[in-house]
């Protein structure tokens, strides 16, 4: 039974006012600007755009500021905001082969066409705190070294082995085949790979990272190699009905990961390398990698593999990857459950009464038995 109880409006109002003050912190310290957040906390911004499923750096920066740096809360704000805007339609699929590459590496080929471009990366750093950054001013930043770029094409690594049939080809559907959209229809199972990839692309980085890690440690059989990771700007094109042609909307930055897995073959399919795919907004490499590993693990059925681990369980993975849903359900436990709990309290009291009564009866019976025996 639900009982309507009112109260707390004033406390809530005051709590929100207090939050505003605490969010701002010491007013002797300058307030953050959105440009500062977008420029200097770019990876947080990218994570919020990815998990909020909306690419807009200024909005993500605002959400981070409003959420006091709580990135899940920020993604929540972004998801709520997007519901206020009309949907113009779907873009043409982006072509990562035409990316303006800022970083591109392969762990499978040393000398690949286009070369290994490290770009701005934390890799190979010693993870030592840089106290120079703690100083008031950053001082002069040394201009990065430049080198004349060689304008050679940068084919995706997965296209290189394709010629020999060693590498599984990408699945191609008819151009007009419907593409599942989680923002339009609720999740249902079984879910095809288009829905799975959309779900993973907006899934929680931590959850995907743990799942990918579990698959490496033996919960699920994957032997992944990083075929390629590339990060950079790609053009987004949109077919404008009223104009009758596709227009370029501008560029967005994405990270793509091609994970390559050895596959021993089944009766249906010859031995070859199979692939998992990761694609995320911004430079969020860890998530792109985790996504590609989870994508591969979820393909067990189509490849005729055995299902042995949580990472292969489509329903488990897809139902728990969304941190907005997860936080909603976990955090709702903070809301008043007074009546529910009152009912539980009565129940537990009654059960305890019965339990003690039963125990007493049992003890009495065994005492009587003992006396009779003596």
């Amino acid at each position: 039974m639900y009982v309507a109880v009112k109260g707390g409006e004033k406390a809530i109002r005051n709590a929100h006012q207090l939050l505003t003050k605490r969010r701002r912190g010491d007013t002797g310290v300058p307030a953050l600007t959105l440009d500062q957040i977008a420029e200097q906390l770019a990876i947080s911004v990218a994570r919020v755009m990815g998990e909020g499923s909306l690419y807009d750096e200024q909005l993500a920066a605002l959400a981070i500021k409003q959420a006091r740096g709580d990135l899940i809360e920020a993604a929540f704000l972004i998801r709520a905001y997007r519901t206020t805007l009309p949907r113009f339609g779907y873009s043409q699929p982006i072509d990562t082969g035409k990316m303006l590459v800022e970083r591109r590496i392969s762990a499978t080929y040393k000398d690949l066409p286009g070369g290994q471009l490290l770009g701005p990366t934390f890799d190979y750093s010693h993870r030592l705190l840089d106290f120079a950054l703690a100083a008031e001013a950053d001082g002069e930043i040394e201009a990065p070294v430049r080198r004349t770029p060689i304008d050679e094409p940068m084919p995706r690594v997965t296209d290189l082995l394709d010629d020999e049939g060693l590498m599984e080809a990408d699945p191609v559907s008819a151009e007009d085949a419907p593409v599942g959209d989680l923002t339009r229809e609720p999740l249902s199972f079984p879910a095809d790979r288009d829905l799975r990839l959309q779900n993973l692309a907006r899934g929680d980085e931590g959850f995907l990272l743990s799942l990918a890690y579990s698959s490496q440690r033996g919960y699920g059989r994957t032997h992944p190699f990083t075929g390629e990771i590339r990060y950079g700007a790609v053009e987004v094109e949109f077919f404008a009905e009223e104009l009758g042609f596709a227009v370029s909307l501008g560029t967005i930055k994405v990270t793509e990961c091609q994970m390559v897995n050895q596959f021993q073959g089944t009766a249906k399919s010859s031995p070859k390398f199979t692939r998992g795919y990761g694609l995320v907004f911004g430079q969020v490499e860890r998530k792109a990698m985790a996504m590609s590993m989870v994508d591969r693990a979820l393909r067990w059925e189509e490849l005729g593999e055995e299902q042995v681990a949580p990472v292969q369980d489509t329903e488990f993975v897809m139902s728990h990857s969304d941190n907005i849903q997860a936080t909603g359900f976990v955090e709702h436990l903070k809301l008043p459950h007074y009546v529910d709990f009152q009912a539980e309290l009565e129940l537990v009291r009654r059960m305890r009464g019965e339990w003690f009564a039963a125990r007493e009866a049992e003890e009495k019976a065994s005492r009587n038995q003992k006396e009779a025996a003596e």
Binding site: L54, F88, Y90, I94, L100, R147, V179, V236, S248
Partner: protein, 138 residues
Amino acid sequence: MSVLAAASPEDLATAYDRLGTPPAYEMVRQPETGLVMVRGRMGGTGSPFNLGEVTVTRCVVRLESGEAGSSYCLGRHKQKALQAAVIDALWQRADDRERIETEVVAPLAEIRTKADEDLKAETAATKVDFFTMVRGDN
């Protein structure tokens, strides 16, 4: 249109101002912000899937002489969308096309090319040059 869409709102405003007094136009569609769902392809070349949305602002104007201009730009910059639509309309007018090309499109394209070249040069410096260590046992 792609050069206009790629330009920053500030650069586009500067280019717009270079054109002098804006032409008379009527608003066919007010600058409007909405969403476009971006698609990727499985494995890079396979079947499409929905990656996530982007904010997009679009606008349509018509000049007194009848030419309609439209714009679609990433982001939520209403002024940029409006200015891009006006420039697009002017480009349709034979008398103005050359002026638009030289005073707006070319300079904006140059800014973009310069930024791309800088990025490519900085990235190229991080290219790995592998070398093989000489074995010492011969």
